[in-house]
């Protein structure tokens, strides 16, 4: 290999190293922190930021994403799952059954007049919009359009 070629390889290796130096392999969770920012011109803002904590998702965690908050860069986390089920410390995860049921009135207090995916028409009637999806027929190599027609959804006892 010539000196020029070796230099190129070293440069590529350096770039790769710099690009991934903050990503850490292991078991991760997203931690959350509220940040209040101040800046020039009396700027105030607040963000909910994610941070890398030890947790139950196997993969890499990088906290190099950033968002400006009144001119100050605040960094937030991104987990890149590797699809492995290798976090042995997390085998004690509970199965959730028997959660306390919220009263319809209290549920409506929090949801107010908006439910994601549904168009609220009244306190207990909403419209579920039509959904379209394509599925591939692997034999004919053709796509088929599947429709889920829109419909009214009536919730017993309010939202």
């Amino acid at each position: 290999m010539t000196a020029k070629g070796a230099l190129k390889v070293m440069l590529v290796a350096l770039v790769l190293m710099l690009a991934t130096y903050d990503a850490r392999a292991g078991c991760w969770a997203y931690g959350s922190r509220m940040v209040e920012c101040n800046g020039a011109g009396g700027c105030h803002n607040s963000l909910t930021l994610s941070t890398c904590w030890f947790g139950c998702i196997s993969g890499d965690c990088s906290d190099s994403n950033s968002d400006s908050c009144c001119g100050t860069l605040e960094y937030y986390a991104q987990i890149y799952p590797d699809g492995e089920n290798g976090c042995s410390e997390c085998e004690d995860v509970r199965v959730h059954t028997g959660a306390l049921r919220s009263s319809p009135e209290h549920r409506a207090e929090l949801l107010r007049d908006y439910t994601p995916g549904l168009i609220m028409l009244s306190a207990n009637v909403s419209y579920k919009p039509m959904e379209l999806a394509y599925t591939l027929n692997r034999c004919s190599h053709k796509y088929k359009l599947i429709t889920d027609a829109g419909r009214l959804v009536v919730t017993v006892g309010g939202m």
């Binding site: 011109g41 929090l110 419209y127």
Partner: protein
């Protein structure tokens, strides 16, 4: 065939028109529910006015990480550096009083330190996240001296976010635990822990299922930037002790939902504090004796509504802070750290033009 296709097109046109008109109708404020009207007190025009400023030129004030707290002597506690976790304590005059640092006292590398609580004897308890699945509470004396590391043991992996300490030493801690599908939206979990970290009792809260459902649906009111499992209604929860001996746990929702929880883990009551404006979000809550002050913030203009209620949720006062004419934002920050009565005063972390820390005291006028 053509006629049938025309029929289908007409059907969809009618359907779209019907839904559009119904949606528009749904978005119109009805006479029954009405638009969110300002309360009588707010209309009366009681505003928050700054009456005192303390300069702390040694501290940069670009960012503060919640929570923000004060003790009975008026000392201020806050965190302003995620890279070097630690709680800073300052006197009301702006003098550094103590530093509570987990890093030198942990056996393992620290990923982060989280919320903290002040005990009635002045000790500080801080949630700490070493690089392991176990979560800890670090206890410090009021001068910052490390006392102990308490390993929390609920029996399953979780992320604790808010805590309070009862005079008995038992702790109320609220956070999120994993779903069986670890990549799915997490579930709220609240428990009473013994002073040694063992779980004494799980506290079931009525709205937890609703909050979980909102998180699972990606509802923007509780979802967290870059965090599909997160739920800010839970992770930004706050807990403070009141004069009746109960802990008051506030979910970060609109309306703010507050639960009074006894040291035994019983849910004594559920309070609702409604700012009367749907665009505001809950900010910070502080308890003074038998009153609770909740700050609500409008995220775009940063205008604020301060609601004061008693321990049963009865509204006692509403104060607001609006933009001055020509100003893009209201002047107060969201870093509300102290509430006192006689006279009614609220104190905030702020910054001067050089981004140096200031303590701002405001009064309703």
């Amino acid at each position: 065939m053509t006629r049938r296709a025309l029929g289908v097109v007409l059907y969809f046109c009618c359907l779209i028109a019907t839904v559009a008109s119904q949606t528009q109708a749904a978005q119109q404020p009805s006479a029954k529910t009405g638009p969110t009207q300002p309360s009588a007190n707010k209309q009366a025009g009681l505003h928050l006015v700054r009456v005192d400023t303390v300069d702390v030129p040694s501290v940069l004030a670009n960012s503060f990480y919640s929570p923000f707290k004060c003790d009975d002597d008026g000392n201020i506690y806050f965190q302003n550096d995620l890279r070097s976790p630690g709680v800073q304590k300052f006197s009301p005059k702006g003098q550094p009083a103590a530093l509570f640092q987990p890093t030198p006292n942990a056996g393992n590398k620290i990923d982060d330190a989280g919320s903290f609580a002040l005990a009635s004897n002045g000790d500080l308890f801080e949630l700490v996240f070493p690089h392991e699945i176990k979560r800890y509470v670090f206890a410090y004396k009021s001068d910052g001296t490390f006392k102990s590391a308490i390993k929390l043991d609920p029996g399953f992996p979780w992320l604790p976010y808010a805590l309070a300490v009862f005079p008995s030493g038992q702790m109320l801690i609220s956070g999120l635990e994993y779903d069986k599908d670890r990549t799915a939206a997490m579930w709220p979990f609240t428990g009473i822990f013994a002073a040694d970290g063992s779980l004494l009792r799980e506290v079931k809260l009525e709205d937890d299922e609703t909050l979980h459902d909102m998180g699972a649906a990606g509802d923007s009111r509780v979802s967290v930037l870059g965090n599909p499992q997160g739920n800010s209604a839970v992770s930004a929860s706050e807990i403070e002790m009141a004069a009746d001996g109960n802990a008051y746990l506030m979910r970060w929702t609109n309306p703010a939902i507050i639960y009074a929880i006894s040291a035994g883990g019983g849910v004594v009551r559920r309070l609702k504090v409604d700012p009367g404006e749907s665009s505001y979000h809950a900010g910070t809550m502080h308890v003074f004796q038998n009153r609770i002050a909740v700050l609500f913030i409008e995220p775009n203009t940063y205008e604020k509504i301060m609601k004061v209620v008693d321990l049963e949720g009865h509204e006692l006062a509403t104060y607001n802070e609006s933009r001055a004419p020509g100003k893009p934002q209201a002047f107060l920050t969201g870093a509300f750290y102290c509430y006192r009565e006689d006279p009614t005063r609220f104190t905030f972390l702020g910054a001067n033009d050089d981004s140096k820390l200031q303590f701002w005291t405001v009064e309703p006028r």
